[in-house]
Symmetry: C2
Subunit: 455 residues, 2 copies
């Protein structure tokens, strides 16, 4: 066996030609979305007013294991994929660990993260359906950027509702979106009923993700030829993101490497669900065993401190109910929490797997995350996104355990993106102004009160 | 022959093990650096007070064709190299051109550009000489970022003097440098004699590159265990950057592709000199012919409107004299000129090649550059740096000519970096606030008056 290279790239003809649908191998399927009015499972017809038809099929299908990736999407993937699996030789040496550390790096594209994998798929099906455009919301702008790139490539209109405070304070991603021809509207706006209502009640509001979702959904459902798209949480998103895990597994298989531990950061679950998909599939089928660890911020601890229950997906409570680990739909992480991973809930699929004991979860404090990020950047070169750095922190902790026990474990983690647009947070960290925040039990109890009553 | 993939990556064992020194094959060697006092060629001894010894050797050696790349540098290269040669299928389709367009993409690392190729080399030789650290200046921060990454990897101190206006208005690259442990000082500062003198004379000054160079050189030459390093213009830098061209050529050779036209942006010449090195070598040895085009901003047109003469390398007039195409050492591009490529002179090596008619040069207007950048981003995905977009503009122009003539030329250009830290300029462009500026003949004549008299 040759020495494993620093970076393993698949050849173009080795890239996945199908996405893998983890749900097909789950014995306990994720609970269905419910209509908030009737509390009955959402039908394809109900969903197709909001989402594209093909995506509704993918959303509801929990038996088909593989979906062909259309050629047009595969061509787009070739522009920025395969993403490398990197052997973290320098980090291993720095930590003096016998562990072998690998990371799948999804940040080498202009959107700066893995979000593009699903953005192109969702845009493609919208185009195929003959739609004129799509709407979405974005917070700091990672998902909005990815979607605008995909829409630009397919010549599809893209309307992004961007939380006003980010629109004003983080203008750079907004400009990237404009470069790709998207219209970016600060939310709340006067474009929608819900926006006007909120502005009337709270004239000086700087917006929220929940409000931006509501505006994007309203525009999609009231404008001829538009649908709404979403970058995380949904089953369809996890399906598209399985390309991460499929590529990672194929790259490691080429060198006969089998990870013992797989680590991913978890917000809504798009990256984690994608990274672990084929490995979890083997585990579900009893073909292999892996320790799988979800890492979330201590300030937004859905897995580790949330309830497994039906909840609203949005703070506006207009979307379907999903059964998931949740902190309550009006939970909002402290303002000093940097980066993403601030969603109150978690993918239904991952929630079910966690509830079945098939994966672990842990939460980490923000300043520890940035310490790990800086340590990683200095030896591995890449300046990581705060989100990704949650996984780095856990990987370093596991590698240090190996140093203590002498075990030569193989660790794979997901490096979802770069931190080039998160330097305000890095600056706070360098200046010693970054604070940790952990919600109190009382705060969570208060938030859980908003959970809907579903038997 | 298989279809050429979107991206050609070399295997690790195909990566260059030697740098190529273009000067060895030049019949007319670049003119030597002169001591500004005696007007005699600078000796190794004189230079070694400022630069590391090994780098002085490389600077002065115009006969050795190949230099081994030390293993430690090759290991570092493996962290972010090989960089891909990308076939711009989508751009070709958009332009409906029969031309085949390739670009060598150097932006997929945290420094965001090719600068890292020389930064690690210069830091390595400083470390090897037992130095404590290095000093440098940086404008917008691309070079400073690259150097701080290299120094962090080698545990070498890194002192960066950053032009004050950039330090204050472009804090993001400053934070990247801090992440890598560099000390970043706004220039002019109270740390140096030259800084104090300037601040006394101009208390409100926001600094200039020339002043920052002077401070960095002063600190290097007056602090035990420090030397000064520079990211462009010098022969040693072109030597290190030859890795760009060597990799590009190896990747294209694998698929039997031979470019007809090679295009690079040109500021001080580090990227262009690196990209063209092995191709120009073949041309010099009479083994092949290529059209080679340097593209510079119309606002800083050293090749196209400068004089080929000995000039000061810095505005402070303390560095050696170099013979080069120059606009005069006190020439400063208009403040509305975005991005880099604002150096008044040009690499002596490239200047000699241009003077010998071995390459062409053209200048392009800023708004045309941003139009090309946006067109490229929308179809190829990558948001390019303004510097790199000069080459994109010329490549698009050549591809359109092919569409008109029907010629199936093969074009290779250098995509030196990403524009993630240049979004203020993109915003201006989107808002229609970007202006073109071209210096008048009278302005240039005025500037040429500062040229030193050298027979």
């Amino acid at each position: 066996m040759n020495k494993i290279p620093y970076k393993i790239y698949l050849e173009e003809n080795e890239m996945p030609q199908q996405w893998y649908n983890l749900r097909a191998d789950m014995k306990n399927k994720p609970a269905p979305l419910l209509n908030p009015g009737t509390l009955e499972p959402m039908t394809a017809e109900e969903l197709s007013g909001v989402f594209c038809e093909e995506l509704v099929k993918q959303e509801l299908d929990d038996t088909t294991a593989y979906f062909d990736i259309p050629q047009e999407i595969r061509d787009f993937y070739k522009m920025y994929r395969p993403s490398p699996v990197v052997r973290a030789y320098c980090l291993e040496e720095k930590l003096k660990t016998p562990a072998k550390i690998y990371y799948k790096f999804e940040g080498n594209n202009t959107s700066g993260s893995h979000k593009l994998n699903s953005a192109i798929a969702q845009a493609y099906y919208a185009k195929k359906q003959g739609l004129k455009g799509v709407t979405t919301e974005t917070g700091a702008g990672q998902w909005g950027t990815a979607l605008s790139m995909a829409c630009s490539y397919l010549d599809l209109d893209c309307k992004v509702y961007m939380v006003k405070v980010s629109y004003e304070q983080k203008p750079f991603r907004r400009e990237v979106m404009r470069t790709y021809g998207a219209s970016v509207t600060p939310s709340p706006s006067m474009d929608t009923n819900v926006g006007r209502k909120i502005l009337e009640a709270h004239p000086g509001t700087t917006g929220s993700l929940g409000c931006a979702i509501s505006e994007a959904v309203e525009v999609a459902t009231t404008t001829e030829g538009y649908r709404y798209v979403l970058g995380s949480v949904l089953n369809q998103v996890l399906l598209h993101q399985s390309v991460i895990g499929l590529e990672a597994k194929a790259a490691l298989d080429k060198y006969g490497v089998k990870p013992d531990i797989i680590i991913g950061c978890a917000g809504g679950g798009s990256n984690l669900g994608g990274l672990i998909a084929p490995f979890m599939g083997e585990k579900l089928r009893g073909e292999a065993d892996y320790r799988i660890i979800a890492v979330e911020p201590a300030s937004c601890p859905s897995f580790t401190r949330g309830k497994y229950a039906y909840d609203f997906c949005d703070t506006g409570m207009v979307c379907p109910l999903a059964k998931m680990y949740t902190l309550g739909s009006n939970f909002i992480p402290a303002p000093n929490h940097a980066g993403g991973l601030r969603y109150h809930g978690m993918s239904s699929t991952l929630s079910q797997l966690y509830d079945d004991g098939l994966m672990e979860a842990r939460s980490v404090a923000q300043t520890d995350v940035f310490k790990a990020a800086e340590e990683f950047a200095r030896v591995e070169g890449i300046l990581p996104a705060p989100e990704s750095s949650h996984a780095i922190k856990a990987a370093i902790d596991e590698a240090i355990k190996c140093r203590e026990t002498g075990e030569e474990k193989t660790i794979l983690f997901g490096l979802t993106g770069t931190g080039y647009f998160d330097l305000v947070a890095y600056e706070k960290f360098h200046d010693g102004l970054m604070e940790d925040y952990v919600p109190t039990d009382a705060e969570l109890e208060e938030s859980f009160k908003t959970l809907p009553k579903v038997d």
